[in-house]
C-alpha cells in the first residue's frame, strides 16, 4: 500500500492541475466576445481580427501558467493580442502623426459644428447625434492613426481603465491620457467631416 502513496499524490496533483487549466480556459473563452470586439477595431478587417483572436487564444492556452489567478484576465489576454499585433508588423504601417488639431479644435468642436449646421434652432443632443450614421462612425474610427486608435478602443470601446490600457500597451499612463485626449479629438474631427448633411 505504501508504494502507491507517491503515485496517489502525483495523480492528485495532476488532477488539480488539469482542473485549474480547464477553469482557466473556460474563463478565457467567456471573455472572447469582449476580446474580439476590441481586436476588431484595432485592425482593419474582420479576417485580420479573427486571425489575431485565434492566435491570442492559442498562445494564452499554451502559456496559461504565466497568468496569475486573481488578476485581470481580460487585460492579460489583450496584452497578448497587442503584442501579436505588433509582431505582425503593423507598427511599420503607420506611426503616430503630429496632428495640428491641438489648440485649434477643442472638445466642444463636434457639437458646435453639428449644432451650427442643424436645420432647427437649439436641437437636443439626440437630434444632433442622429446626424452621424453607423458607417460613418466606423470609418471615422478606422481613420484615426493606430497609436491613438488603440487607446480609444481599449478605453472607450473595451472600457479598460487608464492603468489597464497602459499595461496592455506597455506605455506610461500619462501617454495613455495624452493619446486618448488627442485621439478623441481626431475622431471627432473625422466625424464632423463625415456628418450627414442636414
Amino acid at each position: 500500500m505504501s508504494e502507491s502513496t507517491p503515485t496517489t499524490a502525483e495523480s492528485r496533483r495532476l488532477a488539480q492541475d488539469a482542473r485549474a487549466r480547464v477553469r482557466f480556459e473556460e474563463e478565457a473563452l467567456e471573455l472572447s466576445d469582449q476580446v474580439y470586439r476590441v481586436a476588431r477595431r484595432m485592425v482593419n478587417s474582420r479576417e485580420e481580427a479573427e486571425d489575431l483572436v485565434q492566435q491570442t487564444y492559442e498562445r494564452a492556452f499554451r502559456s496559461w501558467r504565466q497568468f496569475t489567478p486573481g488578476t485581470n484576465l481580460r487585460a492579460w489576454l489583450l496584452r497578448i493580442l497587442t503584442n501579436l499585433n505588433i509582431d505582425r508588423g503593423r507598427r511599420q504601417q503607420r506611426t503616430p502623426q503630429t496632428t495640428t488639431l491641438d489648440g485649434e479644435l477643442g472638445d466642444y468642436f463636434l457639437y458646435n459644428k453639428l449644432e451650427s449646421t442643424a436645420p432647427e434652432q437649439n436641437p437636443d443632443e439626440d437630434r444632433v447625434l442622429e446626424r452621424l450614421s453607423q458607417d460613418s462612425i466606423v470609418d471615422a474610427l478606422a481613420d484615426v492613426p493606430h497609436d491613438f486608435r488603440d487607446v480609444i478602443v481599449l478605453v472607450d470601446i473595451g472600457e479598460f481603465s487608464y492603468a489597464d490600457a497602459a499595461q496592455i500597451l506597455d506605455i506610461p499612463i500619462g501617454t495613455v491620457m495624452s493619446r486618448l485626449h488627442r485621439g478623441r479629438r481626431i475622431l471627432k474631427k473625422n466625424l464632423a467631416d463625415s456628418a450627414v448633411a442636414p
Binding site: 473563452l29 472572447s32 477643442g106 472638445d107 452621424l132 487608464y162
Partner: protein
C-alpha cells in the same frame, strides 16, 4: 492660463467623464455646469456620443470563430 470659464470647463470635460479629476476639480466643473446650460449641453452630448460610438463599432464575433476557439481547449483526459 485659461480665463474663460467655459473654456476651462471644455478642458475638463474628458477627464470629468473619465472620472479622472480630483474632488476639487469635480466640484469646480459641477459648479460651472450648474449655471451654464451651454456647457451642460455639450457634456451631455459627449456622454451620449461615447455610448453611441461604442454601440456603433461593436461587431459580434462569428459563431465559426467561437467554435474554433472552443476547439483549442485542452481535451479532457
Amino acid at each position: 492660463m485659461i480665463d474663460d470659464p467655459c473654456d476651462k470647463c471644455e478642458e475638463m470635460m474628458q477627464p470629468y467623464l473619465d472620472g479622472a479629476l480630483s474632488e476639487d476639480e469635480v466640484r469646480e466643473a459641477e459648479r460651472h455646469l450648474e449655471g451654464c446650460s451651454w456647457c451642460q449641453k455639450r457634456y451631455k452630448f459627449e456622454e451620449r456620443l461615447r455610448h453611441y460610438v461604442r454601440v456603433a463599432v461593436s461587431e459580434q464575433m462569428r459563431p465559426e470563430l467561437k467554435a474554433k476557439l472552443a476547439a483549442l481547449r485542452t481535451p479532457l483526459q
